[in-house]
Subunit: 289 residues, 2 copies
Protein backbone atom coordinates (compact mmCIF):
# COMPACT_ATOMS: atom_id res chain seq x y z
CA UNK A 1 0.00 0.00 0.00
CA UNK A 2 1.26 3.46 -0.91
CA UNK A 3 -0.56 5.14 1.96
CA UNK A 4 -0.31 4.88 5.71
CA UNK A 5 -2.39 2.68 7.97
CA UNK A 6 -6.00 3.70 8.41
CA UNK A 7 -8.22 3.07 11.40
CA UNK A 8 -10.96 1.75 9.13
CA UNK A 9 -10.86 -1.47 7.06
CA UNK A 10 -12.30 -1.92 3.58
CA UNK A 11 -14.95 -4.30 4.94
CA UNK A 12 -15.96 -1.81 7.64
CA UNK A 13 -16.08 1.18 5.28
CA UNK A 14 -18.10 -0.85 2.76
CA UNK A 15 -20.60 -1.76 5.48
CA UNK A 16 -20.89 1.87 6.60
CA UNK A 17 -21.45 3.04 3.02
CA UNK A 18 -24.03 0.29 2.44
CA UNK A 19 -25.94 1.47 5.51
CA UNK A 20 -25.86 5.11 4.39
CA UNK A 21 -26.80 4.28 0.79
CA UNK A 22 -29.79 2.16 1.82
CA UNK A 23 -31.49 5.06 3.60
CA UNK A 24 -34.16 6.56 1.33
CA UNK A 25 -32.95 4.61 -1.67
CA UNK A 26 -34.96 5.15 -4.87
CA UNK A 27 -34.62 2.46 -7.53
CA UNK A 28 -35.27 -1.09 -6.45
CA UNK A 29 -32.19 -3.11 -7.21
CA UNK A 30 -32.35 -6.86 -6.72
CA UNK A 31 -28.86 -6.65 -5.19
CA UNK A 32 -26.88 -3.56 -4.18
CA UNK A 33 -23.67 -3.11 -2.19
CA UNK A 34 -22.35 -6.37 -0.72
CA UNK A 35 -22.13 -8.83 -3.61
CA UNK A 36 -19.73 -9.12 -6.57
CA UNK A 37 -22.13 -7.14 -8.76
CA UNK A 38 -25.23 -4.98 -8.39
CA UNK A 39 -28.27 -6.61 -10.03
CA UNK A 40 -30.79 -4.44 -11.89
CA UNK A 41 -34.04 -5.56 -13.54
CA UNK A 42 -35.23 -3.19 -16.27
CA UNK A 43 -39.06 -3.10 -16.63
CA UNK A 44 -40.08 -5.80 -19.15
CA UNK A 45 -36.57 -7.16 -19.68
CA UNK A 46 -35.95 -10.90 -20.11
CA UNK A 47 -32.55 -10.80 -18.46
CA UNK A 48 -31.26 -9.26 -15.24
CA UNK A 49 -28.31 -6.92 -15.68
CA UNK A 50 -25.14 -7.14 -13.56
CA UNK A 51 -22.90 -4.15 -12.84
CA UNK A 52 -19.46 -3.98 -11.29
CA UNK A 53 -16.58 -1.49 -11.28
CA UNK A 54 -12.95 -2.10 -10.40
CA UNK A 55 -9.90 0.10 -10.09
CA UNK A 56 -6.48 -0.80 -11.46
CA UNK A 57 -3.98 1.69 -10.05
CA UNK A 58 -0.22 2.04 -10.59
CA UNK A 59 1.86 0.91 -7.57
CA UNK A 60 -1.28 -0.57 -5.92
CA UNK A 61 -2.57 -3.14 -8.41
CA UNK A 62 0.34 -3.15 -10.88
CA UNK A 63 3.88 -1.82 -11.29
CA UNK A 64 5.14 -0.01 -14.33
CA UNK A 65 8.51 -1.81 -14.29
CA UNK A 66 7.13 -5.35 -14.07
CA UNK A 67 3.80 -5.18 -15.92
CA UNK A 68 3.86 -4.70 -19.71
CA UNK A 69 1.29 -2.18 -20.98
CA UNK A 70 -0.84 -4.84 -22.69
CA UNK A 71 -0.96 -6.88 -19.44
CA UNK A 72 -2.20 -3.76 -17.59
CA UNK A 73 -4.96 -3.35 -20.20
CA UNK A 74 -5.86 -7.04 -19.92
CA UNK A 75 -6.00 -6.97 -16.13
CA UNK A 76 -8.01 -3.72 -16.00
CA UNK A 77 -10.85 -5.51 -17.79
CA UNK A 78 -10.29 -9.02 -16.32
CA UNK A 79 -11.05 -7.85 -12.76
CA UNK A 80 -14.61 -6.82 -13.67
CA UNK A 81 -15.17 -9.86 -15.89
CA UNK A 82 -14.28 -12.07 -12.94
CA UNK A 83 -17.05 -10.39 -10.90
CA UNK A 84 -19.51 -11.09 -13.74
CA UNK A 85 -18.33 -14.74 -13.78
CA UNK A 86 -18.96 -15.00 -10.02
CA UNK A 87 -22.64 -14.13 -10.59
CA UNK A 88 -22.96 -16.61 -13.50
CA UNK A 89 -23.31 -13.82 -16.08
CA UNK A 90 -22.14 -13.17 -19.60
CA UNK A 91 -20.51 -9.77 -20.28
CA UNK A 92 -22.31 -7.26 -22.53
CA UNK A 93 -20.32 -4.02 -22.53
CA UNK A 94 -17.91 -1.93 -20.47
CA UNK A 95 -16.92 1.67 -19.76
CA UNK A 96 -13.25 2.54 -19.29
CA UNK A 97 -12.15 5.58 -17.28
CA UNK A 98 -8.43 6.08 -17.84
CA UNK A 99 -6.24 8.71 -16.15
CA UNK A 100 -2.76 8.76 -17.68
CA UNK A 101 0.40 9.45 -15.65
CA UNK A 102 3.07 11.98 -16.67
CA UNK A 103 5.31 9.13 -17.91
CA UNK A 104 2.65 7.67 -20.24
CA UNK A 105 3.43 8.00 -23.95
CA UNK A 106 1.41 7.16 -27.05
CA UNK A 107 3.20 3.82 -27.52
CA UNK A 108 2.23 2.72 -23.98
CA UNK A 109 -1.39 3.82 -24.48
CA UNK A 110 -1.69 1.89 -27.74
CA UNK A 111 -0.28 -1.28 -26.16
CA UNK A 112 -2.60 -0.84 -23.18
CA UNK A 113 -5.59 -0.73 -25.54
CA UNK A 114 -4.25 -3.67 -27.49
CA UNK A 115 -4.36 -5.83 -24.32
CA UNK A 116 -7.69 -4.40 -23.17
CA UNK A 117 -9.47 -4.83 -26.51
CA UNK A 118 -8.04 -8.31 -27.19
CA UNK A 119 -9.72 -9.60 -24.02
CA UNK A 120 -12.83 -7.50 -24.77
CA UNK A 121 -13.25 -9.11 -28.22
CA UNK A 122 -12.56 -12.62 -26.98
CA UNK A 123 -15.28 -12.25 -24.31
CA UNK A 124 -17.73 -10.21 -26.50
CA UNK A 125 -17.50 -7.19 -24.18
CA UNK A 126 -18.08 -4.00 -26.20
CA UNK A 127 -16.14 -0.91 -25.10
CA UNK A 128 -19.04 1.57 -25.01
CA UNK A 129 -17.50 4.71 -23.51
CA UNK A 130 -15.76 6.11 -20.45
CA UNK A 131 -13.62 9.09 -19.51
CA UNK A 132 -10.06 10.35 -20.03
CA UNK A 133 -7.89 12.43 -17.71
CA UNK A 134 -4.38 12.87 -16.35
CA UNK A 135 -3.12 12.30 -12.81
CA UNK A 136 0.03 11.37 -10.87
CA UNK A 137 -0.32 7.57 -10.90
CA UNK A 138 -1.85 5.79 -13.85
CA UNK A 139 -5.44 4.92 -12.87
CA UNK A 140 -8.03 2.78 -14.66
CA UNK A 141 -11.56 2.22 -13.45
CA UNK A 142 -13.55 -0.25 -15.51
CA UNK A 143 -17.31 -0.75 -15.25
CA UNK A 144 -18.56 -4.02 -16.74
CA UNK A 145 -22.22 -4.76 -17.49
CA UNK A 146 -23.21 -8.42 -17.78
CA UNK A 147 -26.49 -10.27 -18.15
CA UNK A 148 -27.98 -13.36 -16.56
CA UNK A 149 -31.39 -15.07 -17.06
CA UNK A 150 -34.08 -13.43 -14.90
CA UNK A 151 -33.75 -14.30 -11.22
CA UNK A 152 -30.85 -16.73 -11.79
CA UNK A 153 -27.84 -14.63 -10.73
CA UNK A 154 -25.49 -16.48 -8.38
CA UNK A 155 -25.19 -14.80 -4.98
CA UNK A 156 -22.99 -14.96 -1.91
CA UNK A 157 -25.69 -15.60 0.63
CA UNK A 158 -27.16 -19.02 -0.18
CA UNK A 159 -24.64 -21.36 1.50
CA UNK A 160 -26.22 -23.64 4.14
CA UNK A 161 -24.89 -26.26 6.60
CA UNK A 162 -23.85 -29.55 4.88
CA UNK A 163 -23.34 -27.85 1.49
CA UNK A 164 -20.01 -28.77 -0.10
CA UNK A 165 -17.38 -26.07 -0.74
CA UNK A 166 -15.48 -26.12 -4.06
CA UNK A 167 -12.98 -24.04 -6.02
CA UNK A 168 -12.77 -23.91 -9.83
CA UNK A 169 -9.02 -24.61 -9.94
CA UNK A 170 -5.73 -24.78 -8.06
CA UNK A 171 -4.77 -21.73 -5.99
CA UNK A 172 -1.57 -19.72 -5.59
CA UNK A 173 -0.21 -17.03 -7.83
CA UNK A 174 2.10 -17.97 -10.71
CA UNK A 175 3.58 -14.95 -12.48
CA UNK A 176 1.92 -15.44 -15.87
CA UNK A 177 -1.50 -15.70 -14.26
CA UNK A 178 -0.83 -12.63 -12.10
CA UNK A 179 -0.04 -10.71 -15.30
CA UNK A 180 -2.95 -11.93 -17.42
CA UNK A 181 -5.62 -13.49 -15.18
CA UNK A 182 -8.30 -15.43 -17.04
CA UNK A 183 -11.84 -14.69 -15.82
CA UNK A 184 -13.80 -17.97 -15.38
CA UNK A 185 -16.83 -16.87 -17.41
CA UNK A 186 -17.72 -20.30 -18.87
CA UNK A 187 -17.28 -21.96 -15.49
CA UNK A 188 -19.54 -19.38 -13.80
CA UNK A 189 -22.33 -19.93 -16.35
CA UNK A 190 -22.20 -23.69 -15.68
CA UNK A 191 -22.93 -23.01 -12.00
CA UNK A 192 -26.32 -21.39 -12.66
CA UNK A 193 -29.09 -23.42 -11.05
CA UNK A 194 -26.53 -25.64 -9.28
CA UNK A 195 -24.43 -23.53 -6.89
CA UNK A 196 -26.03 -22.26 -3.68
CA UNK A 197 -23.44 -19.46 -3.33
CA UNK A 198 -20.47 -18.15 -5.32
CA UNK A 199 -17.73 -15.49 -5.09
CA UNK A 200 -14.58 -14.85 -7.11
CA UNK A 201 -11.17 -15.22 -5.46
CA UNK A 202 -9.62 -11.80 -5.98
CA UNK A 203 -8.43 -11.00 -2.44
CA UNK A 204 -7.37 -14.48 -1.25
CA UNK A 205 -9.24 -17.65 -0.24
CA UNK A 206 -9.26 -16.91 3.50
CA UNK A 207 -10.78 -13.41 3.09
CA UNK A 208 -13.18 -14.19 0.23
CA UNK A 209 -14.42 -17.38 1.93
CA UNK A 210 -15.09 -15.37 5.11
CA UNK A 211 -17.11 -12.87 3.04
CA UNK A 212 -19.24 -15.63 1.49
CA UNK A 213 -19.79 -17.23 4.92
CA UNK A 214 -20.73 -13.92 6.56
CA UNK A 215 -23.21 -13.15 3.76
CA UNK A 216 -24.73 -16.64 4.24
CA UNK A 217 -24.54 -16.50 8.07
CA UNK A 218 -22.68 -19.81 8.33
CA UNK A 219 -19.21 -21.24 9.11
CA UNK A 220 -17.03 -23.74 7.21
CA UNK A 221 -14.58 -26.55 7.72
CA UNK A 222 -11.82 -26.61 5.09
CA UNK A 223 -9.98 -29.93 4.82
CA UNK A 224 -7.70 -29.37 1.90
CA UNK A 225 -6.59 -26.66 -0.53
CA UNK A 226 -5.33 -27.47 -4.05
CA UNK A 227 -2.01 -25.70 -4.49
CA UNK A 228 -0.78 -24.61 -7.89
CA UNK A 229 2.64 -25.94 -8.85
CA UNK A 230 5.37 -23.56 -7.67
CA UNK A 231 3.21 -21.93 -4.97
CA UNK A 232 3.18 -22.35 -1.20
CA UNK A 233 0.25 -23.23 1.09
CA UNK A 234 0.40 -19.68 2.47
CA UNK A 235 -0.02 -18.23 -1.04
CA UNK A 236 -2.91 -20.57 -1.80
CA UNK A 237 -4.68 -19.64 1.46
CA UNK A 238 -4.06 -15.90 1.60
CA UNK A 239 -2.38 -14.85 -1.66
CA UNK A 240 -5.15 -13.17 -3.65
CA UNK A 241 -5.45 -12.54 -7.39
CA UNK A 242 -6.33 -16.15 -8.20
CA UNK A 243 -9.49 -15.18 -10.10
CA UNK A 244 -10.82 -18.71 -9.63
CA UNK A 245 -14.40 -19.16 -8.38
CA UNK A 246 -15.24 -20.33 -4.85
CA UNK A 247 -18.72 -21.87 -4.58
CA UNK A 248 -21.00 -24.15 -2.62
CA UNK A 249 -23.34 -26.96 -3.74
CA UNK A 250 -26.25 -28.56 -1.87
CA UNK A 251 -25.68 -32.24 -0.97
CA UNK A 252 -26.01 -34.59 -3.94
CA UNK A 253 -25.56 -31.94 -6.63
CA UNK A 254 -22.74 -32.81 -9.03
CA UNK A 255 -20.35 -29.92 -9.67
CA UNK A 256 -18.99 -29.06 -13.15
CA UNK A 257 -15.88 -30.83 -14.43
CA UNK A 258 -12.72 -29.26 -13.00
CA UNK A 259 -14.30 -28.46 -9.61
CA UNK A 260 -12.12 -29.30 -6.59
CA UNK A 261 -13.74 -30.01 -3.21
CA UNK A 262 -12.08 -28.13 -0.32
CA UNK A 263 -14.53 -28.57 2.57
CA UNK A 264 -18.04 -28.29 3.93
CA UNK A 265 -20.35 -25.61 5.28
CA UNK A 266 -21.12 -25.91 9.00
CA UNK A 267 -23.27 -24.24 11.61
CA UNK A 268 -21.23 -21.83 13.71
CA UNK A 269 -20.22 -18.18 14.05
CA UNK A 270 -20.83 -16.39 10.69
CA UNK A 271 -17.56 -16.22 8.77
CA UNK A 272 -15.57 -18.65 10.94
CA UNK A 273 -13.30 -21.09 9.08
CA UNK A 274 -11.64 -24.18 10.54
CA UNK A 275 -8.64 -25.45 8.58
CA UNK A 276 -6.95 -28.72 9.63
CA UNK A 277 -8.48 -28.47 13.07
CA UNK A 278 -7.57 -24.81 13.74
CA UNK A 279 -9.25 -21.42 13.09
CA UNK A 280 -8.12 -19.88 9.78
CA UNK A 281 -7.70 -16.09 10.06
CA UNK A 282 -8.98 -13.96 7.14
CA UNK A 283 -5.56 -12.67 6.08
CA UNK A 284 -6.32 -11.99 2.41
CA UNK A 285 -5.80 -8.60 0.80
CA UNK A 286 -7.81 -5.78 2.40
CA UNK A 287 -7.14 -2.63 0.39
CA UNK A 288 -7.48 -0.54 3.53
CA UNK A 289 -5.16 -2.53 5.81
CA UNK B 1 -3.03 20.30 -15.71
CA UNK B 2 -0.69 18.42 -13.40
CA UNK B 3 1.09 16.67 -16.26
CA UNK B 4 3.14 17.90 -19.19
CA UNK B 5 1.83 18.62 -22.67
CA UNK B 6 0.97 15.61 -24.79
CA UNK B 7 1.11 15.32 -28.56
CA UNK B 8 -2.42 13.91 -28.61
CA UNK B 9 -5.66 15.75 -27.73
CA UNK B 10 -8.61 14.26 -25.85
CA UNK B 11 -10.77 14.53 -28.99
CA UNK B 12 -8.12 12.76 -31.10
CA UNK B 13 -7.53 9.99 -28.55
CA UNK B 14 -11.28 9.48 -28.15
CA UNK B 15 -11.63 9.13 -31.94
CA UNK B 16 -8.75 6.66 -32.10
CA UNK B 17 -10.25 4.57 -29.25
CA UNK B 18 -13.69 4.66 -30.91
CA UNK B 19 -12.16 3.31 -34.13
CA UNK B 20 -10.33 0.52 -32.29
CA UNK B 21 -13.36 -0.39 -30.16
CA UNK B 22 -15.69 -0.61 -33.15
CA UNK B 23 -13.64 -3.36 -34.82
CA UNK B 24 -15.25 -6.74 -34.14
CA UNK B 25 -17.60 -5.31 -31.52
CA UNK B 26 -20.03 -7.80 -29.98
CA UNK B 27 -23.11 -6.32 -28.30
CA UNK B 28 -25.18 -3.95 -30.39
CA UNK B 29 -25.38 -0.67 -28.54
CA UNK B 30 -27.70 2.00 -29.93
CA UNK B 31 -24.95 4.53 -29.19
CA UNK B 32 -21.35 3.90 -28.15
CA UNK B 33 -18.33 6.19 -27.83
CA UNK B 34 -19.01 9.73 -29.07
CA UNK B 35 -22.13 10.91 -27.24
CA UNK B 36 -22.76 11.98 -23.64
CA UNK B 37 -23.85 8.45 -22.72
CA UNK B 38 -23.78 4.96 -24.21
CA UNK B 39 -27.31 3.70 -24.98
CA UNK B 40 -28.17 0.03 -24.36
CA UNK B 41 -31.44 -1.73 -25.13
CA UNK B 42 -31.99 -4.86 -23.05
CA UNK B 43 -34.06 -7.55 -24.87
CA UNK B 44 -37.75 -6.94 -24.10
CA UNK B 45 -37.18 -3.77 -22.05
CA UNK B 46 -39.58 -0.82 -22.29
CA UNK B 47 -36.90 1.76 -21.68
CA UNK B 48 -33.44 2.32 -23.14
CA UNK B 49 -30.66 2.51 -20.59
CA UNK B 50 -28.03 5.28 -20.57
CA UNK B 51 -24.52 4.82 -19.17
CA UNK B 52 -21.81 7.36 -18.46
CA UNK B 53 -18.72 7.50 -16.27
CA UNK B 54 -16.80 10.55 -15.09
CA UNK B 55 -13.64 11.09 -13.13
CA UNK B 56 -13.27 13.66 -10.38
CA UNK B 57 -9.57 13.91 -9.49
CA UNK B 58 -7.74 16.03 -6.91
CA UNK B 59 -5.78 18.92 -8.45
CA UNK B 60 -7.42 18.30 -11.84
CA UNK B 61 -11.17 18.66 -11.20
CA UNK B 62 -11.06 19.98 -7.63
CA UNK B 63 -8.62 21.30 -5.04
CA UNK B 64 -8.46 20.12 -1.47
CA UNK B 65 -7.94 23.65 -0.08
CA UNK B 66 -10.87 25.29 -1.89
CA UNK B 67 -13.47 22.49 -2.21
CA UNK B 68 -15.21 21.28 0.97
CA UNK B 69 -15.54 17.48 1.15
CA UNK B 70 -19.32 17.54 0.69
CA UNK B 71 -18.93 19.68 -2.46
CA UNK B 72 -16.47 17.11 -3.84
CA UNK B 73 -19.03 14.35 -3.21
CA UNK B 74 -21.77 16.43 -4.82
CA UNK B 75 -19.70 17.21 -7.89
CA UNK B 76 -18.48 13.62 -8.32
CA UNK B 77 -22.09 12.57 -8.91
CA UNK B 78 -23.32 15.77 -10.61
CA UNK B 79 -20.97 15.32 -13.58
CA UNK B 80 -22.58 12.01 -14.58
CA UNK B 81 -26.11 13.23 -13.86
CA UNK B 82 -25.48 16.13 -16.26
CA UNK B 83 -24.64 13.60 -19.00
CA UNK B 84 -27.91 11.76 -18.26
CA UNK B 85 -29.77 15.12 -18.47
CA UNK B 86 -28.17 15.80 -21.88
CA UNK B 87 -29.76 12.61 -23.26
CA UNK B 88 -33.16 13.44 -21.73
CA UNK B 89 -32.93 10.62 -19.19
CA UNK B 90 -33.86 10.06 -15.57
CA UNK B 91 -31.18 8.57 -13.29
CA UNK B 92 -31.66 5.05 -11.89
CA UNK B 93 -28.50 4.09 -10.00
CA UNK B 94 -24.76 4.71 -9.80
CA UNK B 95 -21.48 2.97 -8.94
CA UNK B 96 -18.79 4.91 -7.06
CA UNK B 97 -15.12 3.98 -7.31
CA UNK B 98 -13.21 5.94 -4.69
CA UNK B 99 -9.43 5.95 -4.17
CA UNK B 100 -8.48 7.85 -1.02
CA UNK B 101 -5.31 9.95 -0.73
CA UNK B 102 -2.83 9.70 2.19
CA UNK B 103 -4.29 12.91 3.70
CA UNK B 104 -7.88 11.62 3.76
CA UNK B 105 -9.35 10.98 7.22
CA UNK B 106 -12.63 9.50 8.35
CA UNK B 107 -14.21 12.92 8.88
CA UNK B 108 -13.46 13.92 5.27
CA UNK B 109 -14.84 10.60 3.95
CA UNK B 110 -18.08 10.97 5.90
CA UNK B 111 -18.59 14.52 4.64
CA UNK B 112 -17.82 13.42 1.11
CA UNK B 113 -20.56 10.77 1.36
CA UNK B 114 -22.92 13.29 2.92
CA UNK B 115 -22.65 15.51 -0.19
CA UNK B 116 -22.75 12.57 -2.58
CA UNK B 117 -25.78 10.89 -1.02
CA UNK B 118 -27.74 14.13 -0.55
CA UNK B 119 -27.68 14.70 -4.31
CA UNK B 120 -28.27 10.97 -4.92
CA UNK B 121 -31.46 10.98 -2.81
CA UNK B 122 -32.77 14.23 -4.28
CA UNK B 123 -32.40 12.81 -7.81
CA UNK B 124 -33.50 9.21 -6.92
CA UNK B 125 -30.10 7.79 -7.90
CA UNK B 126 -29.40 4.65 -5.83
CA UNK B 127 -25.76 4.02 -4.88
CA UNK B 128 -25.52 0.37 -5.96
CA UNK B 129 -21.84 -0.47 -5.54
CA UNK B 130 -18.33 0.44 -6.65
CA UNK B 131 -14.76 -0.02 -5.50
CA UNK B 132 -12.42 1.32 -2.80
CA UNK B 133 -8.65 1.84 -2.94
CA UNK B 134 -5.83 4.20 -1.98
CA UNK B 135 -3.61 6.29 -4.24
CA UNK B 136 -1.57 9.53 -4.27
CA UNK B 137 -4.29 11.96 -5.37
CA UNK B 138 -7.89 11.48 -4.30
CA UNK B 139 -9.73 9.97 -7.27
CA UNK B 140 -13.44 9.32 -7.81
CA UNK B 141 -14.91 7.67 -10.85
CA UNK B 142 -18.70 7.60 -10.91
CA UNK B 143 -20.79 5.53 -13.33
CA UNK B 144 -24.40 6.66 -13.63
CA UNK B 145 -27.15 4.58 -15.24
CA UNK B 146 -30.25 6.44 -16.45
CA UNK B 147 -33.33 5.48 -18.43
CA UNK B 148 -35.25 7.08 -21.27
CA UNK B 149 -38.37 5.90 -23.18
CA UNK B 150 -37.43 3.47 -26.00
CA UNK B 151 -35.82 5.22 -28.96
CA UNK B 152 -36.27 8.70 -27.49
CA UNK B 153 -32.79 9.49 -26.14
CA UNK B 154 -31.52 12.93 -27.18
CA UNK B 155 -28.38 12.77 -29.30
CA UNK B 156 -25.67 15.08 -30.56
CA UNK B 157 -26.05 14.38 -34.24
CA UNK B 158 -29.52 15.64 -35.25
CA UNK B 159 -28.86 19.37 -35.77
CA UNK B 160 -29.70 20.57 -39.31
CA UNK B 161 -29.41 23.89 -41.15
CA UNK B 162 -32.02 26.49 -40.03
CA UNK B 163 -32.51 24.80 -36.64
CA UNK B 164 -32.32 27.28 -33.74
CA UNK B 165 -29.58 26.96 -31.11
CA UNK B 166 -30.49 27.43 -27.43
CA UNK B 167 -28.95 27.14 -23.98
CA UNK B 168 -30.87 26.26 -20.80
CA UNK B 169 -29.50 29.21 -18.81
CA UNK B 170 -26.91 31.97 -18.53
CA UNK B 171 -23.26 30.98 -18.89
CA UNK B 172 -20.10 31.77 -16.94
CA UNK B 173 -18.83 30.23 -13.75
CA UNK B 174 -19.89 31.70 -10.41
CA UNK B 175 -18.11 30.11 -7.44
CA UNK B 176 -21.17 28.55 -5.78
CA UNK B 177 -22.18 26.85 -9.01
CA UNK B 178 -18.63 25.64 -9.63
CA UNK B 179 -18.74 24.01 -6.18
CA UNK B 180 -22.18 22.44 -6.42
CA UNK B 181 -23.29 22.31 -10.05
CA UNK B 182 -26.97 21.46 -10.51
CA UNK B 183 -27.59 18.88 -13.26
CA UNK B 184 -30.51 20.01 -15.49
CA UNK B 185 -32.45 16.74 -15.29
CA UNK B 186 -35.97 18.22 -15.46
CA UNK B 187 -34.98 20.50 -18.31
CA UNK B 188 -33.47 17.60 -20.27
CA UNK B 189 -36.64 15.50 -19.93
CA UNK B 190 -38.70 18.42 -21.32
CA UNK B 191 -36.57 18.36 -24.48
CA UNK B 192 -37.57 14.80 -25.44
CA UNK B 193 -39.42 14.80 -28.76
CA UNK B 194 -38.61 18.49 -29.29
CA UNK B 195 -34.84 18.98 -29.50
CA UNK B 196 -33.03 17.80 -32.62
CA UNK B 197 -29.67 17.63 -30.79
CA UNK B 198 -28.42 18.17 -27.24
CA UNK B 199 -25.15 18.18 -25.26
CA UNK B 200 -24.24 19.31 -21.74
CA UNK B 201 -21.88 22.24 -21.26
CA UNK B 202 -19.11 20.72 -19.16
CA UNK B 203 -16.03 21.79 -21.12
CA UNK B 204 -17.12 25.25 -22.33
CA UNK B 205 -19.62 26.50 -24.93
CA UNK B 206 -17.06 26.88 -27.74
CA UNK B 207 -15.73 23.30 -27.40
CA UNK B 208 -19.04 21.56 -26.64
CA UNK B 209 -20.85 23.42 -29.46
CA UNK B 210 -18.09 22.35 -31.87
CA UNK B 211 -18.58 18.72 -30.71
CA UNK B 212 -22.35 18.89 -31.35
CA UNK B 213 -21.79 20.49 -34.76
CA UNK B 214 -19.16 17.93 -35.80
CA UNK B 215 -21.45 15.06 -34.76
CA UNK B 216 -24.27 16.63 -36.83
CA UNK B 217 -21.94 17.60 -39.74
CA UNK B 218 -23.07 21.24 -39.72
CA UNK B 219 -21.84 24.73 -38.78
CA UNK B 220 -23.46 27.48 -36.66
CA UNK B 221 -23.79 31.23 -36.42
CA UNK B 222 -23.91 32.45 -32.80
CA UNK B 223 -25.34 35.95 -32.38
CA UNK B 224 -25.42 36.35 -28.67
CA UNK B 225 -24.42 34.59 -25.45
CA UNK B 226 -26.28 35.11 -22.15
CA UNK B 227 -23.66 35.97 -19.53
CA UNK B 228 -24.20 35.19 -15.89
CA UNK B 229 -23.90 38.17 -13.56
CA UNK B 230 -20.29 38.57 -12.42
CA UNK B 231 -18.82 36.64 -15.36
CA UNK B 232 -17.01 37.83 -18.47
CA UNK B 233 -17.81 37.06 -22.12
CA UNK B 234 -14.61 34.99 -22.27
CA UNK B 235 -15.80 32.85 -19.35
CA UNK B 236 -19.23 32.39 -20.92
CA UNK B 237 -17.70 31.36 -24.26
CA UNK B 238 -14.83 29.17 -23.10
CA UNK B 239 -15.10 28.75 -19.33
CA UNK B 240 -16.46 25.24 -18.86
CA UNK B 241 -18.29 23.67 -15.91
CA UNK B 242 -21.57 25.44 -16.63
CA UNK B 243 -23.58 22.19 -16.63
CA UNK B 244 -26.31 23.92 -18.60
CA UNK B 245 -27.72 22.17 -21.69
CA UNK B 246 -26.96 23.29 -25.25
CA UNK B 247 -29.59 22.15 -27.76
CA UNK B 248 -31.16 22.75 -31.15
CA UNK B 249 -34.81 22.89 -32.25
CA UNK B 250 -36.31 22.55 -35.73
CA UNK B 251 -37.96 25.77 -37.04
CA UNK B 252 -41.34 26.49 -35.44
CA UNK B 253 -40.83 24.25 -32.39
CA UNK B 254 -41.32 26.15 -29.15
CA UNK B 255 -38.55 25.53 -26.59
CA UNK B 256 -39.22 24.98 -22.85
CA UNK B 257 -39.54 27.97 -20.56
CA UNK B 258 -36.12 29.31 -19.57
CA UNK B 259 -34.51 28.52 -22.93
CA UNK B 260 -32.31 31.30 -24.33
CA UNK B 261 -31.72 31.53 -28.09
CA UNK B 262 -28.04 32.02 -29.00
CA UNK B 263 -27.96 31.44 -32.77
CA UNK B 264 -28.78 29.24 -35.74
CA UNK B 265 -27.41 26.13 -37.42
CA UNK B 266 -25.94 26.74 -40.89
CA UNK B 267 -24.46 24.76 -43.74
CA UNK B 268 -20.68 24.95 -43.69
CA UNK B 269 -17.59 23.09 -42.51
CA UNK B 270 -18.56 20.62 -39.75
CA UNK B 271 -17.86 22.19 -36.37
CA UNK B 272 -17.28 25.76 -37.58
CA UNK B 273 -18.78 28.54 -35.44
CA UNK B 274 -19.19 32.17 -36.44
CA UNK B 275 -19.60 34.60 -33.54
CA UNK B 276 -20.31 38.27 -34.24
CA UNK B 277 -19.01 37.94 -37.78
CA UNK B 278 -15.77 36.10 -36.91
CA UNK B 279 -14.73 32.45 -36.49
CA UNK B 280 -14.99 31.29 -32.84
CA UNK B 281 -12.11 28.96 -31.92
CA UNK B 282 -12.95 25.89 -29.77
CA UNK B 283 -10.95 26.98 -26.72
CA UNK B 284 -12.92 25.08 -24.07
CA UNK B 285 -11.31 22.64 -21.68
CA UNK B 286 -9.54 19.72 -23.38
CA UNK B 287 -8.23 17.44 -20.63
CA UNK B 288 -5.28 16.52 -22.81
CA UNK B 289 -4.19 20.02 -23.82
Amino acid sequence: MASGRKPISENNLTQWIAGQAARGSGTRLLRGIGDDCAVFRAPGAKEDLLFTSDFLIEDIHFRRDTHPADAVGHKALARGLSDIAAMGGGPRFCLLSLALAPWTDERWVKRFFSGFLKLARRTATTLAGGDLAHTEKLTCDVMVCGAVPRGRALRRDGARAKHTVYVSGRLGKPWQKHLRPEPRLDFGRQLIGLASACIDLSDGLSLDLARLLKASDVAAVVDDVPIRSGSTLEQALHGGEDYELLFTMPPGVKPPRGSIRIGEIAKGPAGAVEFRGRPLPALGYDHFR
